[in-house]
């Protein structure tokens, strides 16, 4: 199960999204296709996010999986996401 961290907020901008961690006082600008990954993760399980990102970015499924996984790992490391046991 992937959730945004409790101290994380985000702002949708014209060309992507800005992630803000108020506790760590950090912010990162996320561009496409990762901006779509962030938005979709707030509503869908990873498998569904991957399917949609493949279509949005015209990627083969394996490449879409790599993009999604890489983004999740990065945001977990930066404290924007929490990955918890169970679920998608």
């Amino acid at each position: 199960m992937i959730r945004s961290a409790p101290d994380t907020s985000w702002i949708v901008q014209a060309d992507g999204v800005v992630l803000v961690n108020s506790r760590r006082r950090t912010a990162v600008v996320v561009r496409y296709p990762e901006a779509a990954v962030w938005d979709l993760l707030t509503r869908h399980p990873v498998a569904e996010v991957t399917r949609k990102v493949a279509c949005i970015a015209s990627l083969e499924r394996e490449e879409a999986e790599r993009v999604v996984r890489s983004a999740i790992d990065q945001w977990v490391a930066q404290g924007f996401l929490r990955e918890e046991a169970g679920g998608g």
Binding site: V12, A14, D15, G16, R31, Y32, P33, A35, A36, D39, L40, R43, K52, C55, I56, A57, S58
Partner: protein
Amino acid sequence: MAASTTTDAAVFAVPVLDQWLVYAPLNEVAGLVNGAALRKLSGAQTLDGKLGDLAESLRSNGAAPRRRQGVARPIFLGLIPSRLCNLHCVYCNFGVGGEAPKDRMDPAMAVEAVDWIGRHAVETGDDTLAIHFFGGEPFVEWDIVEIVTHRARAVAASLGLKVHLEASSNGVYPEERARFIADHFQAIVLSFDGFPEVHDRHRPHADGKGSFPEVARTAKIFSDSQLELCLRICVTEQNVDDLPEIVRWFCTDFRPAYIDFETIYETDLSTKAGLKPPDPLRFSRSYLQAREVANQFGVVANYAADLQQRPRNSFCPVGQDAVILTPDLRVSTCYLLEPDWQARGLDMNLGRLEPGRGLQLNQEALDRARNLPLPPKCHRCFARWSCAGGCKVNHSHPGCTDELDDFCQQTRLIMATTLLEKMGQSALAARMLDDEAAAMALAKQPTDVLTTMEMRA
């Protein structure tokens, strides 16, 4: 007196109580004169003084708006993810169990269309990638909405374009979706027919339950966001007298930028539901009062056929190179159902989306859509360059009546009032609207063309 019925007149005149509003739309000049002055203006003699100045202003040659030519420059890409709808509005044939086709657009094809409009915008020097979702209810097809939204934003960012996402919607979906729309769209036209009793009668779910609570919640979410919110009221006999109070409530409880007013088109469905279009004078009076209320709140009230900032050839996407992709991959210039315009003898198809090749437009079809003729009555009407005939399918289609119907009459009353208000003659306009005989004389005058109209002392 013989009237020329097919040529465009430069100067029109309509009666306003015991005076005449003379108007040259292409020069954007209007004046108010008495009967004697009107007779002089309609003649060929040279006039002196103020009347001479007015005559000169009226008769100078303003240019008609140019029709589009050559390669398509779409005002937007329209996407119809499906014709399905989750409501069962009693006046609409798109809803649950309705007559609309049941097919859905393939997301990969929608993506291809987005790429095409992005490339086309760059090639034609536009600075915006504009997409407008229509339905049915477009947000029923959520998968496509999410994919297209992100694809459009990604393509626009990569090409250095602004993105404009807009949709016409019923507002009935979960809060989470409304928040996504609020975050990612630039404009929404939200159908909202007013107070609960009438809204729920007009726009129920399939089980008969009203949709008011969901629509009000969605309107609140949109009001708290950056998007430009337009609330669209379908006006019937049921809500026509409430328009000023509806607008006051909308402006107090929500944050619309615009409020659109559309009178219902009489169809078999609307008749079966017991709904009738409002009387044109009642609608005009109520709309104009509602407009005053909206003005007090800094909100724009809009009747689509009213006076525009500039003369125009069309009041809708038709003729403006809009390319609207249907679920079966046809490209049309009109978002209405194909059988509806076919029944009027019209062909609104422009081409097809061909996988791997993008939108393939037929130049002949494009030119046909740009040059749809107006019925004779429009050429005699002073609102001709603003109303531009209204809906080409439901109002000014081939073979339509040459009578000034309810839509014509209300448009003429509203247009005259707008012109008079701009001239500082609001009190005169109000007196005209209060006097039913005077209002009907204006609304029903068969020709406004100054040189051929029947004179009144």
